[in-house]
């Protein structure tokens, strides 16, 4: 069944009959499995990966290193939750090493991001420090490369 998840992760636009053939399952089995994965939130959702830089002029993504004071009962989870509830937070991870949380946020402008950090994130109780890194260029995300298709100059040959 992991096969099915791998296929979906690669391309969630595959139709059930394509998935069935590829995974060696019947279409009914595929449908049932997907429903189960969705119910159990093993499959969290389906999203497109978009190169926004080519659509609008201003998009800003920042990676913020956050240091926090963990709370005795809930460890990092409680404070993490307070942070990730904000819609601006795109991804968030608990880290090993020099800081505690990686928060990735995106906004329309630099100012929008800066305001979020200074007015919302830094003021959350337990947050002891932040370091904001702006992403200058995206090269690759989820195995996909951000690069427009280059027109390939080629002649067809008979092989």
């Amino acid at each position: 069944m992991e096969k099915l998840l791998e296929l979906l992760e690669q391309d969630c636009t595959l139709t059930t009959d394509q998935l069935a053939l590829a995974a060696g399952l019947s279409e009914e089995e595929v449908k049932a499995a997907i429903r189960k994965y969705e119910d159990e939130r093993i499959v969290l959702g389906y999203q497109a990966i978009i190169d926004w830089d080519r659509v609008r002029k201003e998009t800003v993504t920042a990676l913020i290193e956050v240091n926090v004071v963990p709370q005795s009962a809930d460890g990092f989870d409680r404070i993490a939750e307070r942070i990730y509830q904000y819609d601006e937070v795109e991804s968030m991870y608990l880290m090993s090493g020099a800081f505690d949380l990686t928060v990735i946020i995106s906004g329309r402008t630099l100012r929008e991001v800066a305001l979020f950090v200074s007015e919302r994130l830094s003021t959350i109780q337990g947050v002891t420090g932040t370091a904001t890194h702006f992403i200058l260029k995206k090269y690759k995300e989820k195995h996909l490369v951000f690069r427009p298709q280059e027109p390939e100059e080629r002649e067809y040959i008979f092989v």
């Binding site: 391309d11 595959l14 394509q18 053939l21 002649e155 067809y156 040959i157 008979f158 092989v159």
Partner: protein
């Protein structure tokens, strides 16, 4: 100048392929899907490309030895042993060539005397006949049958052998049919060849691309090994078509002569490509598995959908082609391909381009993205529905 009189007759007599016109149309079309070209849609895996680049950084820009880098031949020998249980001596039984095609050319030119016959099972890749004839031989085409799953049967072979037969080409796994020969099939061939001096030229460029079965080479059979020259390469197994990397292996006396020809005509295969190939042999096995799995997925999808749309399609067990039977449409292979291209903008290749026995079939290559294949399938449905309507056979 009357060039016709100046030019070599044999070369002039070889006809250029008729497929060109399809590609000319295709190149002009927007929104067209090509399942026409027999080439992996994968880019060469990065670690292999990187090895080529690194060899340039280190300044490996000179000729290699004629037979190819020693370390590459060593790796090829290890690979053949590891993956196909074939034991060959890297020092004198393996030669690195410019693609598999050069190996085929070398072998035929080394074996053929004027008038020697070459048995070429068809439908198959188009180069064997022209290369045999340019080497002074006579191409004898042997039509394989869909009823036999496009395998060569001992009866067919026996009937084709004459006192002049010098070489039997075994093009398996087969482009365009996807047919394969298993050990039993090869044993039957060995039995027919037993008391002859006929040599086997086994083109195994698709050896890594078999589905649900493991490739068996005639060189795996003790009865055939001494009479077999095997052609292989990196184009299909490692998605390296543009690197032009192939190799041939076989009995030392033959490889020695092939090397002589290669030495004068080619010198040595491209050095950068050879360094990339070393990496492919050392660390490329997982890439092969990955690509095969992908091809297999597309293969099953395409076969199932073609059959569903009413074109009977023999299940190919090797290479990356399907070869559906289009006779039920009442069109010739060329008519079918031309109309499919003009009406639905999908390119497939008429079976008759692959020699006798190909008429009534078309070749579609599934080394294309799943998206393109799915779109091609839906356009095929359209095409067939419209065709039946026009022919007044609406179901």
């Amino acid at each position: 100048m009357n060039y016709d009189e100046i030019l070599n007759d044999r070369i002039q007599n070889v006809k250029p392929s008729g497929i060109r016109k399809f590609f000319d149309i295709l190149e002009e079309m927007t929104d067209a899907i090509s399942l026409g070209i027999g080439e992996p849609d994968f880019v060469t895996p990065w670690h292999i490309r990187d090895a080529g680049i690194y060899s340039l950084e280190r300044g490996h820009t000179k000729y290699t030895s004629n037979a190819g880098l020693l370390q590459l031949r060593r790796e090829i020998a290890a690979y053949l042993n590891r993956r196909f249980d074939l034991q060959y001596d890297y020092a004198n039984q393996i030669i690195v060539t410019v693609g598999g095609s050069e190996g085929i050319d070398l072998a035929l030119r080394c074996l053929l005397n004027p008038g020697d016959e070459v048995i070429i099972p068809t439908p198959s890749f188009v180069c064997y006949g022209p290369l045999a004839e340019m080497a002074g031989g006579v191409a004898k085409y042997l039509e394989l049958k869909v009823e036999n799953k496009f395998r060569l049967t001992p009866e067919e072979l026996r009937a084709a052998i004459t006192p002049k037969t010098k070489v039997l080409v075994l093009p398996f796994p087969c482009n365009p049919t996807g047919g394969t020969m298993d050990r039993k099939d090869l044993e039957a061939i060995a039995e027919v060849l037993k008391d002859t001096d006929i040599m086997v030229l086994s083109d195994e460029i698709y050896a890594e691309l078999t589905y649900g079965q493991h490739h068996v080479s005639p060189a795996n059979l003790t009865e055939l090994k001494d009479r077999t020259i095997v052609i292989n390469g990196f184009s299909k197994s490692h998605a390296m078509t543009g690197w032009r990397m192939g190799y041939a292996f076989g009995p030392e006396p033959i490889i020695k002569q092939m090397l002589k020809l290669h030495q004068f005509g080619i010198m040595s295969a491209p050095t950068t490509s050879q360094y990339a190939a070393v990496e492919a042999m050392r660390n490329g096995d997982p890439d092969i598995e990955h690509m095969r799995e992908e091809y297999d997925r597309r293969r099953r999808y395409l076969v199932e959908n073609l059959n569903r749309s009413g074109l009977s399609c023999f299940e190919p067990k090797g290479a990356f082609y399907v070869f559906p039977d289009i006779r039920s449409t009442g069109l010739s292979s060329e008519e079918f391909c031309e109309r499919f291209l003009m009406e639905e903008k999908v390119a497939v290749i008429p079976g008759n381009a692959f020699g006798p026995g190909g008429e009534g079939f078309v070749r579609a290559c599934y080394a294309a993205s799943m998206k393109d294949i799915a779109e091609a399938v839906s356009r095929m449905d359209n095409f067939l529905t419209n065709l039946r309507r026009k022919q007044g056979r609406t179901e």
